[in-house]
């Protein structure tokens, strides 16, 4: 039997323009005028989101694709689902393919649940007769039967998700691409979805390509794994080995990271020397209690005078959800340009903000006025927030699971009236 998916020499290049993201005709005109005088405009730079990917996936294989944010996982799925096209290489797909890059694609708030099942189904590639045949099973799985004739805008977000996943779960393709769709929804429903996916893949022998940040999902569902790093394949093979490589890779760079002279991220304007995590007594650590402030340090060198530079961090959780971003607003250097030299920065993530879990930090130095990003290092730091029981936190003194990605300690007032 021939492989279900054959990928050879696959690459995708994006051209990043350093001007606005939305092109306006004005730019095209002024650019083309400029380009008459100046060839190879320096305003553009190439960025390979994926490069030199070679993979063969046999029918019935379940492949987990892992990697940090921005490693090219989603780009790979987009290429395979033909949403976007490769720059180099080729892919051969044998069999009917369905992609779930998002649940509920094309849902319309004004339409009823019933109408949305048909619409979403046909967007995902189901024929009308197939939807009719599966209709009762879909409604049953979603559990929204009493609201079938209600417009979707009156559904809760949980109900919308159930309905969306129910349609998706009843697709019957030979090859299924799934991107992180389980990252949302309540735990009970996530488990139900996972069960359905296992049933679909293991019992019915479908080929599945699954992207997730959640290693436990990957290891329970997949047989093989691929690790992507900066758009290239860093490891592939047995899923548990690939996961181990990945975890070794991210835990290497947990509490602090510094770069050698010629490997420093950046350009001729600014270079990043090191980043690190400290607690309130300025001790480097990757473990914090819920009740501890978390300091994120950055040491960088400015190579040119008179540069307006802003610093920023993105904080992601284990599922790849962007918890928040922070920029160096309110410092002297927010308006005042940097002069040549070395600088250090620190920003404090306040205590009682994050819920226990594993978090990743990406760091960037940029100039928002010119829309120039000098450097953006993804997931350079990793830290763990731990539960405390001896002090009072936002959960109060209650035990058990306390849901939510954040856990801010808010001010309550109770009055007797």
């Amino acid at each position: 039997m021939k492989p279900a998916v054959e990928i050879s020499q696959l690459g995708k290049k994006y051209r990043i323009k350093k001007t606005e993201r939305y092109l306006a005709l004005r730019d095209a005109i002024s650019d083309s005028v400029r380009n008459i005088f100046k060839r190879n405009s320096a305003d553009k730079s190439d960025f390979w989101a994926l490069r030199n990917i070679n993979l063969t996936i046999e029918p019935g294989e379940r492949l987990g694709i892992i990697g940090k944010n921005g490693a090219g996982k989603s780009t790979l799925l987009k290429l395979l689902s033909r949403v976007t096209f490769p720059t180099t290489g080729e892919v051969i797909i044998r069999g009917r393919l369905a992609s779930l890059l998002e649940v509920g694609t094309g849902f319309h708030p004004e339409l009823t649940g019933r109408e949305n099942i048909y619409l979403n189904g046909s967007i995902l590639g189901l024929k009308k007769t197939e939807i009719e045949r599966q209709f009762d099973a879909i409604v049953d799985f979603s559990g929204v039967e009493p609201f079938l004739e209600t417009p979707l805008k009156n559904y809760s977000s949980g109900m919308q998700l159930r309905l969306a996943f129910a349609v998706a779960a009843h697709l019957e393709p030979e090859i299924l691409l799934i991107d992180e769709v389980l990252a949302v929804g309540d735990m009970e429903f996530q488990r139900k979805c996972l069960g359905k996916m296992e049933e679909v893949s293991k019992q019915q022998g479908r080929t599945i390509l699954f992207v997730s940040h959640n290693m436990s999902y990957i290891s329970s569902l997949c047989t093989k794994g691929v690790l992507l790093t900066n758009g290239q394949m860093a490891a592939s093979g047995d899923v548990s080995e690939v996961i181990n490589t990945y975890i070794a890779d991210i835990s290497n760079r947990s509490a602090s990271q510094s770069w050698k002279e010629n490997e420093q991220p950046g350009n001729d304007v600014v270079r990043l020397h090191s980043v690190g995590l400290v607690n309130s007594s300025m001790k480097t650590t990757e473990n914090f209690k819920v009740t501890e402030d978390i300091g994120v340090e950055m040491i960088y060198e400015v190579m040119k005078d008179n540069e307006v530079l802003w610093l920023g961090h993105n904080i992601h959780n284990e599922q790849g959800i962007n918890i928040f971003d922070t920029h160096s607003v309110g410092t002297d250097y927010y308006r005042q340009p940097h002069s040549k030299g070395k600088y250090s920065s620190v920003v404090w993530i306040p205590r009682d903000l994050l819920n226990p879990g594993i978090f990743f930090i990406s760091s960037a130095i940029f100039n928002h006025l010119k829309n120039t990003i000098h450097l953006h290092e993804r997931d350079v730091l990793m830290f763990t927030v731990h539960e405390v029981f001896d002090q009072e936190t936002a959960r109060g003194l209650s035990g058990g699971d306390f849901p939510g990605v954040v856990r801010p300690l808010l001010k309550w007032q109770i009055k007797k009236i």
Partner: protein
């Protein structure tokens, strides 16, 4: 036989009509969605399809006929309404399809299907509106006792087809341009106005004089209108005019399709 798909970097443009046909159910789904959504939460619902041209007809009747006394050969309300019916298909087709890709950006970024289905679905929606308004035209013809020759049997369909194709050509061109250059969004209302006033809806080209009048047939709708009015009028068909309109229709269709096909592979990256 298992289907085999090969994905390679885009080089040449190809028109895969078979793929469009295979995905016709999705086309109907999009069109059905647009029609359903369009008149949700309106009290009069589908009646707006006929109310809109009727209201415009009254405005034009008082503004252009009562005050300017324009002669069009047949009862003025019948003439303008007939014109507005075809105009409705033309302008709604263009406006909706040119916005269609941007408003479907969410789907385009996540799912593959032949992208031409999106502007085509907008056109199909406009076509439904057209058919409703077209039915009302017959009521108006009876009320005003306007005789219609048997030529209508082929003139009405031909006029509709020309309008549909030109609207599709212009619409898909604008839709693809809009993805890359949002400027066309702002240019569109102006373009629609220009098209309206250059179309023989409130006036008749036959009452104009000079070489300037045949220039008006560069607007493809004028050729379609010429054929559309023909069974009701007793004028000689301006054959050169119609030919010019058909030629511009084909030019628009080719430009639209080629530009659309050339750029569609990058829609997901740009939108």
């Amino acid at each position: 036989m298992q289907s085999e798909i090969k994905i390679v970097p885009p080089k040449t443009i190809s028109f895969d009509l078979g793929e469009l046909w295979e995905n016709r159910e999705l086309l109907y789904s999009f069109a059905r969605r647009d029609i359903k959504v369009k008149y949700k939460q309106t009290y009069l619902g589908i009646f707006w399809v006929v109310l809109q041209p009727l209201l415009l007809m009254f405005v034009f009747y008082f503004v252009f006929f009562k005050t300017l006394n324009i002669n069009v050969g047949i009862p003025y309300p019948v003439y303008t309404f007939a014109g507005l019916v075809l105009w409705g298909l033309f302008s709604t087709g263009i406006t909706h399809s040119s916005e269609s890709l941007l408003s479907s950006s969410q789907i385009i970024r996540k799912i593959y299907f032949p992208r031409l289905l999106i502007p085509l679905a907008s056109l199909l929606t406009a076509m439904i509106d057209f058919l409703v308004a077209f039915a009302l035209l017959f009521v108006l013809l009876i009320i005003f006792r306007q005789p219609v020759s048997w030529k209508a049997l082929y003139c009405f369909p031909i006029a509709t087809i020309i309008t549909f194709i030109s609207s599709f050509g212009i619409g898909s061109l604008l839709a693809a341009l809009n993805v890359k250059y949002r400027d066309f969004r702002y240019l569109l209302p102006f373009g629609i106005q220009l098209l309206f006033f250059s179309s023989q809806i409130v006036y008749s080209i036959h009452s104009l004089e000079g070489p300037f009048s045949s220039l008006l047939y560069c607007n493809p709708l004028n050729g379609a209108l010429e054929i559309f009015y023909y069974p009701m009028q007793n004028y000689e068909l301006n054959f050169t005019g119609v030919l010019i309109s058909v030629a511009t229709t084909i030019v628009f269709l080719l430009c639209g399709l080629i530009y659309f096909k050339k750029t569609e592979v990058y829609f997901a990256d740009l939108i």
